[in-house]
């Protein structure tokens, strides 16, 4: 079970959090302008990487804040956590 460093609350047990899928996927500002394929790209296509992955997490049983996490899925090491809207601290 991970120990997650919520950017607002500090270290907490993983059981307080909920994973929210891939990070940095921005909802298109003008969905009506998009073709079916373009919309499907936003809607369905997600990466599932063995290695460094950018993820969204929610401190659902805590401050309820969403934040981003960089996690190595091959060994579950959390490389960084950062607030929504912030640039990833590492590549």
């Amino acid at each position: 079970m991970f120990l997650i460093n919520c950017p607002f609350c500090g270290e907490r047990e993983q059981s307080e959090f909920k994973a929210g899928g891939e990070a940095h996927i921005v909802r298109p500002k003008q969905p009506t302008e998009l073709s079916d394929d373009e919309w499907a790209e936003y809607l369905f296509m997600r990466k599932n990487i063995k290695g460094i992955q950018f993820e969204r997490w929610n401190h659902i049983h805590g401050c309820r804040k969403w934040f981003n996490m960089i996690r190595d899925t091959s060994n579950d090491q959390i490389k960084a956590v950062y607030k929504m809207g912030e640039k990833p601290p590492v590549k």
Partner: protein, 1003 residues
């Protein structure tokens, strides 16, 4: 008991405290401090069980948690019965009852023993190959396999014991209290680390605590004396918590560990009342020091499984710790120096050793010379090729090993014995390390896997790290702990060690025999009866990966996870395949390290604590008024209120009729309530609901439908504009938390510029819905100051009001289609307002109704229930709810998906009403809907989602989803059931009052 098997030399045994116990229906005696295994051995009993597949007689093999054979059933036929318990781990107590498993009628005469004779036709994979064909015979096979292959019996009644969970946070966790664990714990605690030291045994010190040999000394003291002083010192340290009888079951990522603490298992049953039996410790440690030691390897030779064959270190422990001799005529069989330590322990107590068989040609250590001095015959360069004796070993035959160790040469010599101690060297106990994600490396010199890459802040020390010599253990423990904890002061100034052993070893994974391999039974996994022959067969049949070989032969698949034989399996695979060790992978050890009881896993979460449930503020009234409850999300909701001897159907019919003819009252407190405030609240609602919100006037209510981005219906509910920038949204009962989460998600991540704040207020209000033609009269009695005229208070509007000076919110909204009011009041007044309504409605037949009636009433109106009539594959268009989808709004969640090529298909499943040909026939929810039953295969068009008998319409009504159903109005379809086909007609889903006149109906 035969006195010659018990030696009065152990301080761990209290000979003044005699304990009686029952094994296989016979009464025996032991002493306090004994394990069931040591007490049985003291009584001369080796044969304790039968093997899993061949039902071969099996004896106690080890003295610890690695035991594969002595697996027993505790307290048979009692509520405390427990299967698959290792006799080597059970501390005896007055009244203990144990019996052998996997044998019938008795361990001495077992019918299943015939399998041993049949073994030539029971090779690896036998079950897969034989019993799978023909498939129709499986039922017959299964009966016999289950009858003959069962391990223990599970209890049949509730467990009377108490279990609990506990969280522990510490700086340093030390697992294992052997020499290195004790040293590490002392260094950590003395340097200011909050430290927890755990050990699975009842005592501290590991195997060194009974090491009284002159051949291993620390600072010129006998090892055990030096260690006792250390233990004495650490037991006084404030920073250090010590837990014995505590076995770490799992080592997860981020140094999260689970351990089982045994609190009462060693006590007589009558002393266990009201005490916690076992505790599951959930440990989060900043740093973990693993000092789990090592497990002695057996040797793999023909018939190496007879009762009386033990690990040599186990024989030593039984003598030194429990004062019990395992045999009177002992032979030791080894490939390293360990057996000579056992020999010295035997010699010191005058126990006879007939011979030592050593694989090595050259033996050069002080301890071996000392053994030789005692006139013990050592057969150097020899191996055991066979053993004899059915229920107990009585003889062995030995032969000389060839130079390369691959064959045997010369004559066969037979030697008598009643106990054979075997030692194949040591395997580091890396189970927990690998569980944590650690990577191993193979050390060629002594053929062991040792920790290599640590995945978290942890370290392995002592023999689990591959340090086997005393000097090496102490020296490496000191340097690595200093570095690991980043401390200068080691607490140990100088530690001088002397050891009479050297680490030489002649490792042969599968010892050769004069017989062909097909004729041998050299057990690699004792518990699952997997032999070297089976492993070779698996390789011949093309299996390569250890994980596949393991499953095919069942090696390592028992309750002991192959703690003894896994290394040999790997060794035999690599030798046979001509590859390097580790090339075929190492097997993965999975939690738990030793089995856990279900009680420990569940802890206090049993009975009414099994799952949490939420009660509304009016719950007690429902209970007092005979309500039946149903679970909705985590809520207990009143389902229906049977009167007299009514069944559910009768109660629901009565409630439904009353709600339309006079008045009904429903506890709707469970509906999710989200308070929405902020200058952008209207804009926010515009984006999350399919319909438009900007023009909703203050004081008005509106129904809204929420979609996922994929266009599928997600939730629904009525939202009320309380003020210019203030709304209260209601959600479905089950969806409340998820809706809040979803809204927060959009606010925080997509639209952070919006000035909107969300709070869950579900628990803050009790919600009472009063409906029916008398509802206005009733509410006007409860809230006399409120103007309830249709002009002042029309449908879909809201008023602030007061009941006895307590503020409340009243909405005129309806989920039944009747004239109705929803009173929202501070939760703690909910019950009294409910009672007030009941009192006010007394003369108007006010009838409390539950969720079932609510569902029926809304179905009459064709209102959907998200999650019952929808399943995340239906758009609002599919639900024939086009009217709620704004054409004007530029965007809302899910809008773009409503005209994807898939969502505009004409033949999507669409919501329709269904009327049965026979109005008395009520359809089954979930039943399939078809058009043509002659077609093969029958095309499934959809299914029934809601179905009721409507007392108000006096006929059966149903909702369902049907492919292209929107254009099928009036069409006949068929619901095929087990015994009949039911004819239905597609109808409008609104069955009652399509014009909505009842919303204003009053009496």
């Amino acid at each position: 008991m035969p006195n010659n098997l018990r030696f009065k030399t152990s301080k761990f045994i209290d000979e003044t405290y005699r304990v009686s116990f029952k094994f296989n229906n016979k009464i025996y005696f032991g002493f306090k401090g004994d394990t069931l295994a040591s007490a049985l051995l003291a009584n001369g009993i080796h044969l304790v069980g039968r093997s899993f597949k061949y039902h071969r007689p099996r004896g106690i093999m080890t003295s610890g948690s690695e035991e594969p054979n002595a697996i027993i059933q505790l307290h048979d036929n009692s509520s405390r019965t427990e299967p698959n318990v290792r006799a080597t781990e059970v501390e005896i107590y007055e009244g203990l009852v144990a019996s052998s498993q996997n044998c019938w009628p008795s361990v001495n005469f077992d019918i299943g023993g015939i399998n041993n004779l049949l073994s030539p036709i029971l090779p690896a994979g036998f079950y897969y190959k034989t019993f799978m064909w023909p498939a129709s015979f499986w039922e017959k096979y299964e009966y016999f396999i289950r009858k003959s292959a069962g391990l223990g019996k599970s209890p049949k009644v509730a467990d009377p014991d108490i279990y609990e969970h506990k969280y522990i946070h510490c700086d340093v966790l030390v697992i294992g209290a052997g020499i290195s664990g004790i040293m590490a714990a002392k260094m950590a605690a003395k340097n200011g680390f909050k430290t927890l030291l755990v050990d699975e045994k009842s005592y501290l010190g590991g195997s060194s605590i009974y090491d009284n040999s002159e051949f291993s000394k620390i600072n010129n003291q006998i090892t055990s004396s030096w260690l006792e002083k250390e233990i004495n010192e650490i037991s006084k340290l404030e920073n250090l918590e010590i837990k014995t009888r505590t076995s770490v079951a799992a080592f997860h990522g981020y140094n999260f560990l689970l351990a089982r603490e045994n609190l009462t298992d060693h006590l007589p049953i009558n002393q266990r009342e009201n005490k916690v039996r076992q505790r599951l410790l959930k440990i989060r440690a900043k740093k973990v020091i693993t000092a789990t030691g090592s497990i002695e390897r057996p040797l793999i030779f023909d018939n190496n499984d007879r009762p009386g064959i033990l690990l040599s270190s186990a024989i030593k422990r039984y003598i030194d710790l429990y004062g019990v001799a395992c045999g009177e005529n002992n032979i030791l069989f080894t490939n390293n120096d360990t057996a000579y330590e056992t020999a010295m322990s035997l010699i010191q107590r005058g126990i006879k050793i007939n011979a030592i068989i050593d694989n090595r040609e050259q033996i050069d250590s002080k301890i071996s010379y000392e053994v030789e001095k005692n006139n013990i015959k050592i057969y150097k360069g020899y191996t055991v090729v066979d053993t004899y004796g059915y229920r107990r070993i009585n003889r062995i035959s030995i032969m000389k090993l060839s130079k390369d160790g691959q064959t045997v040469i010369g004559d066969k010599t037979k030697l008598n014995c009643d106990c054979l101690g075997v030692s194949g060297g040591w395997t580091p106990a890396v189970h927990l390390f690998t569980q944590s994600g650690g990577k191993l490396k193979f050390r060629e010199e002594d053929q062991v896997f040792i920790p290599n890459v640590y995945p978290s802040d942890q370290i392995s020390i002592g023999s689990c790290n591959g340090d086997f010599g005393l000097e090496e253990i102490i020296k490496n423990t000191l340097t690595s702990i200093k570095k690991f904890l980043d401390i200068d002061n080691s607490e140990y100034k100088t530690v001088e060690t002397i050891s009479g052993l050297n680490q030489s070893k002649r490792n042969i994974w599968l010892l050769p025999s004069d017989k062909s391999i097909g004729k041998t039974k050299s057990f690699v996994d004792y518990q699952n009866d997997a032999t070297a022959k089976d492993i070779k067969l698996a390789l011949r049949e093309g299996f390569r990966s250890i994980e596949h070989v393991k499953r095919y032969t069942t090696t390592g698949m028992g309750t002991d996870q192959g703690k003894l034989g896994n290394m040999h399996a790997l060794g035999i695979i690599s030798e046979t395949a001509g590859t390097k060790m580790g090339e075929h992978g190492t097997t993965t050890f999975r939690p738990p390290y030793t089995p856990l009881t279900f009680g420990t896993i569940v802890g206090r979460n049993v009975g009414k604590f099994f799952d949490i449930f939420r009660r509304t503020p009016i719950h007690d009234w429902h209970v007092a008024n005979n309500a039946e409850f149903e679970n909705v999300g985590q809520w207990k909701r009143a389902w229906y209120y049977p009167k007299d001897n009514e069944n559910m159907h009768q109660a629901v019919q009565r409630e439904s009729k009353a709600a339309r003819d006079s008045a009904g009252i429903l506890d709707a407190s469970t509906l999710g309530k989200i308070d929405i405030q902020g200058t952008d609240a209207s804009e926010f609602l515009n984006r999350v609901y399919t319909n438009a919100w900007s023009k909703l006037a203050v004081g008005k209510c509106r129904y809204g439908l929420m979609l996922n981005e994929d266009g599928m219906v997600y939730d629904d509910g009525v939202t009320t504009r309380l003020g210019e920038n203030h709304y209260i949204m209601t959600t479905t009962t089950g969806g409340a938390a998820n809706v809040l989460g979803k809204l927060e998600d959009y606010l925080q991540t997509e639209w952070p510029e919006l000035d909107v704040y969300l709070s869950s207020v579900t628990d803050h209000f009790a919600t009472i819905s009063v409906c029916g033609p008398y509802s206005k009269k009733i509410v006007s009695k409860v809230i006399p100051d409120l103007d309830l005229s249709d002009e002042k208070f029309p449908h879909m509007s809201f008023k602030n009001a007061k009941i006895n000076n307590i503020k409340c919110r009243v909405m005129r909204i309806s989920f039944t289609g009747e004239h109705s009011y929803e009173i929202n009041i501070q939760a703690n007044f909910g019950k009294s307002v409910w009672e007030k309504c009941m009192e006010a409605g007394k003369d108007f037949n006010i009838t409390p109704y539950g969720t079932e009636t609510m569902h029926l009433l809304r179905a009459e109106k064709g209102f959907i229930i998200v999650g019952q009539d929808t399943d995340a594959t239906l758009t609002p268009i599919d639900l024939q709810m086009d009217w709620i989808v704004s054409k004007k709004k530029y965007d809302f969640i899910g809008k773009r998906s409503l005209y994807r090529s898939d969502t505009i298909r004409e033949d999507r499943k669409q919501l329709v009403g269904l009327l049965t040909e026979n109005p008395e026939e009520v359809l089954e929810e979930g039943a399939q809907i078809v058009a043509d039953i002659k077609k093969s295969p029958i095309e499934m068009l959809g299914h029934v989602t809601s179905s009721y008998y409507s007392p108000n319409l006096k006929k059966s009504i149903a909702l369902g989803v049907v492919k292209g159903g929107k254009n099928m109005l009036g069409q006949k379809l068929i619901i095929p059931m087990e015994n009949k086909n039911i004819n239905v007609t597609v109808a409008d889903p609104v069955f009652l009052d399509k014009e909505g006149e009842r919303l204003n109906a009053k009496l």
